[in-house]
């Protein structure tokens, strides 16, 4: 967190430039804002021009600061300010003026904006109420996932999925066997790709007892399993007769095919609206007073 604050502080200082103590001008409006193709082109341009200093996906590099963070971080900069920074550079820093066409700079700014925030900031269009019916009905999502206090226990709770994932990650999870997870702030989560977690496991204990379920955790000595009987198990590897882990999650990745285009669109409209926006940060050290216990 300190690092983020320092980086945020640097950015603000840099942005302020010669008019210290004044808020920087918001800059011109972004002509490409919200255009998916601009995000895509911006990503390519970013990879060519920016990754060397700012790191892949803006997560930080050897020379430049992170443009996003592992947790939700809104640096409070407008697209116009990002445009000005890229076009003019920041005097006294390695960030020099970039020799790019204005349209190219705007596309990079559009991409950086897309890196920040989650699906909740930009929910996808569609009939969310119909999408909810798909979630519990034809899609069978609720068989394994919880939402709104009901549903299955063997897959992650999706109560705040749009507050923790980007729309693109949600689409990928429904359509691709292997994908990266992008969450709040755009950073690559320090977790395994989702298809390599929540694996089905079949265990036969030394006494012949069978446990079937989902593997939640393991090391060289123990396994942590959510059993199909809804109980959590801690199993000693040395005492097990056999442990068979299926290589693939039960999560289907063909929802774009098993649902009609309309149904899929509406399901996404529902999923990208499920979450809670975090409350604005409190000034000072954060958190409520716990009472005067000193």
């Amino acid at each position: 967190m300190n690092r983020v604050l320092v980086v945020a502080g640097l950015l603000l200082t840099c942005m302020a430039g010669p008019i210290l103590a004044q808020r920087p001008e918001p800059g011109p409006a972004n002509p490409f804002r919200g255009k998916p193709e601009a995000v895509h082109e911006g990503e390519t341009l970013y990879a060519e021009r920016c990754t060397g200093c700012h790191g892949p996906n803006g997560t930080d590099g050897e020379i430049g600061p992170a443009l996003v963070s592992g947790e939700r971080a809104d640096f409070g900069t407008t697209d116009g300010q990002v445009f000005n920074t890229i076009k003019n550079g920041i005097p006294g820093t390695p960030m020099g003026p970039q020799k790019l066409a204005d349209d190219e700079i705007w596309k990079i700014a559009t991409y950086i904006r897309a890196l920040r925030g989650t699906a909740l900031d930009n929910p996808l269009p569609g009939d969310a109420a119909h999408g909810e019916q798909i979630f519990w009905g034809k899609g069978q999502c609720g068989t394994c996932h919880m939402m709104g206090g009901k549903g299955g226990l063997t897959a992650p709770d999706l109560n705040n999925i749009a507050g923790t994932r980007k729309a693109s990650t949600i689409i990928d999870a429904l359509t691709k066997a292997q994908h990266h997870e992008y969450g709040s702030g755009g950073a690559h989560l320090k977790s395994l790709p989702s298809m390599e977690s929540y694996l089905p496991v079949h265990v036969i204990a030394g006494d012949g007892k069978v446990v079937d379920g989902i593997l939640l955790n393991e090391d060289g000595y123990s396994l942590q399993v959510m059993g199909n009987d809804q109980h959590l198990y801690s199993l000693d590897r040395a005492r097990m007769r056999s442990v068979v882990v299926q290589p693939k999650s039960l999560m289907p990745t063909d929802y774009d095919k098993r649902l009609t285009p309309e149904e899929f669109k509406d399901l996404l409209a529902f999923l990208t609206r499920q979450g809670t926006k975090p409350p604005p940060p409190t000034p000072g050290r954060g958190g409520p007073p716990r009472g005067d216990d000193q």
């Binding site: 955790n217 009987d229 039960l250 809670t276 005067d292 216990d293």
Partner: protein, 517 residues
């Protein structure tokens, strides 16, 4: 989906259908399964005593660390984990990690934005749910099996929840807080439906309002978990100091219901009785210290007792059915602000101890003769074990005429603070033995007693020590390497008794060497 997966999915569906069957509470907090530690104090009684006895004073020297769980992003943890059915729930504000209590490996994690490093004091388990409070004053019920959100509710009426662990009573989740004034609130444990609020300060026209001399009643923060007697259906909570905190001339009177032990009807939240430890407090002697409920003979008659070592330096024995004062005696060597207690338990105040511009020395200090670190009671020894702080403080104000001019307090140079762990005879308050945690000067961690005849004693500077419950002699110790500001627990998995304590940002678990090596 291949054939095998299809079979698996079928099994899943069978399993899930069991969710729809009626669920019975899996935990009975008055007498939980001894292997579990489902609530802040282990049981509703606040005794922090476990019937587990695999570890004794004779074999405690064979204790060893079994695992350590690091909670990344945490600050000095004050939380007391809860353990049910071999799963440990470790918490911070907005976060619960469910950990294999046998190995320390994670089952699941729940996080709610924003990330917070602010310590809170724990969760409560009931009927397959874990209850937590958040920094934005929500109460969240998590499914104990996967961390899914079963329901969440915002505190009612503009009250803001503090970080005390929730308490389960009468099918309700009981939470409390300090803002705008002390309060207790109850929600249905199954649905999250709001039930009632009790306010520590009265409104105009309500009983107690007349004790403020016309001033607006303020304060009474309630930042600690209470205790519960299911037979009497009474909740016991402590309230904190009146406001302004260090000056009293603006609020002449006793300032009810601040610095009180209160008994509330768990169904309605109505006040049944109160006992005020420190009327008209100007030293911030909150009465929030854990209330220990014990059925024991008092002067030849078995009574339902409530025991509390109070921040003001007195150890109290009350009849918890009606609030009757039975006994009050100092449990630290120097209490100079009162010349004892009268027959009703009211302190006979010695004038001249109000905070002043030049500073006024008072013993004990504002930090208290004891504070929130939990005491313990053993029904075997009938001793009340408590961490105490000997020493005095100097309280200051910046003006003798301006309202709310207090600035706080410092430790005195001539009566510096030193922590002790003391065993008191529970019904007389007489000191039986004491143990000195060397270097510990501030109020330290809480305590734990077990049927194995030991007291588990973490120390401020990171040592954990096991004492013989009868003699107070240390029989084992371990350096955790960080400051400890939490209370220990004990539980059992697969025939192994464990002890656990949060130290800094880690939770340590200990057990005997040769069991489940």
């Amino acid at each position: 989906m291949n054939f095998r997966n299809a079979i698996f999915a079928g099994l899943l569906l069978v399993g899930i259908s069991s969710l729809t069957t009626a669920q019975v509470p899996t935990t009975d907090h008055p007498n939980p399964d001894p292997k579990d530690w489902p609530t802040y104090a282990g049981t509703d009684s606040g005794q922090r005593h476990s019937p587990l006895k695999q570890v004794t004073a004779a074999n405690a020297n064979r204790l060893q660390a079994k695992w350590v769980y690091h909670m990344d992003g945490a600050n000095g943890m004050e939380q007391v984990p809860v353990v049910v059915n071999g799963v440990m729930y470790i918490s911070q504000f907005n976060r619960v990690d469910a950990v294999d209590a046998r190995t320390g490996s994670v089952f699941w994690k729940y996080k709610r934005p924003p990330a917070s490093g602010t310590p809170q004091r724990g969760t409560a388990y009931y009927n397959d749910k874990v209850y937590m409070v958040t920094t934005d004053s929500h109460l969240v019920a998590l499914d104990a099996r996967n961390g899914g959100v079963r329901w969440e509710a915002k505190s009612e009426g503009g009250y803001f929840l503090a970080g005390g662990a929730p308490l389960i009573a009468d099918g309700k989740v009981i939470v409390s807080g300090n803002r705008p004034d002390g309060f207790v609130q109850a929600f249905d444990a199954e649905t999250g439906k709001y039930a009632w609020t009790w306010s520590a300060v009265p409104k105009p026209g309500e009983p107690g309002y007349e004790t403020w001399g016309g001033a607006k009643p303020q304060g009474g923060p309630m930042w600690m978990t209470g205790s519960y007697d299911a037979d009497l259906n009474l909740l016991y909570y402590g309230t904190g100091q009146p406001n302004p905190q260090w000056t009293g001339f603006e609020r002449p009177g006793d300032n009810l219901y601040t610095d009180c032990i209160v008994a509330l009807n768990a169904d309605t939240g109505k006040l049944v009785w109160y006992f005020q430890n420190t009327p008209h407090d100007v030293h911030d002697w909150d009465s929030t210290e854990t209330m220990v409920l014990v059925d024991a003979p008092f002067k030849g008659q078995t009574r339902k007792l409530l025991l509390q070592a109070n921040r003001n330096g007195y150890y109290y024995v009350l009849d918890r059915s009606n609030g009757q004062f039975l006994l009050g005696t100092p449990f630290v060597s120097k209490v100079d602000w009162a010349d004892g207690l009268d027959s009703k338990g009211r302190p006979i105040v010695i004038p001249g101890h109000e905070p002043s511009v030049r500073g006024t020395e008072t013993c004990p200090s504002t930090a208290g003769a004891t504070n929130w670190p939990a005491p313990a009671y053993s029904p075997d020894t009938k001793y009340f074990y408590v961490t105490v702080a000997e020493g005095c403080g100097i309280n200051f104000i910046t003006s003798s005429t301006a309202p709310d001019a207090g600035t706080g307090y410092i430790e005195t140079a001539n009566a510096p603070w030193q922590a002790y762990v003391r065993a008191l005879d529970a019904t007389t308050g007489k000191k039986i033995w004491e143990y000195k945690p060397v270097r510990s000067n501030h109020y330290g961690p809480g305590l734990l007693s077990t049927a194995g005849g030991i007291v588990f004693v973490p120390e401020q500077f990171g040592q954990v020590t096991v004492l013989d419950a009868k003699s107070g002699k240390p029989v084992w110790h371990f350096n955790t390497g960080d400051l400890i500001t939490a209370s220990p627990i004990t539980y059992s998995v697969d025939g192994q008794q464990f002890f656990a304590i949060a130290s800094g940002t880690n939770v340590f678990a200990f057990g005997l060497q040769e069991v489940n090596p």
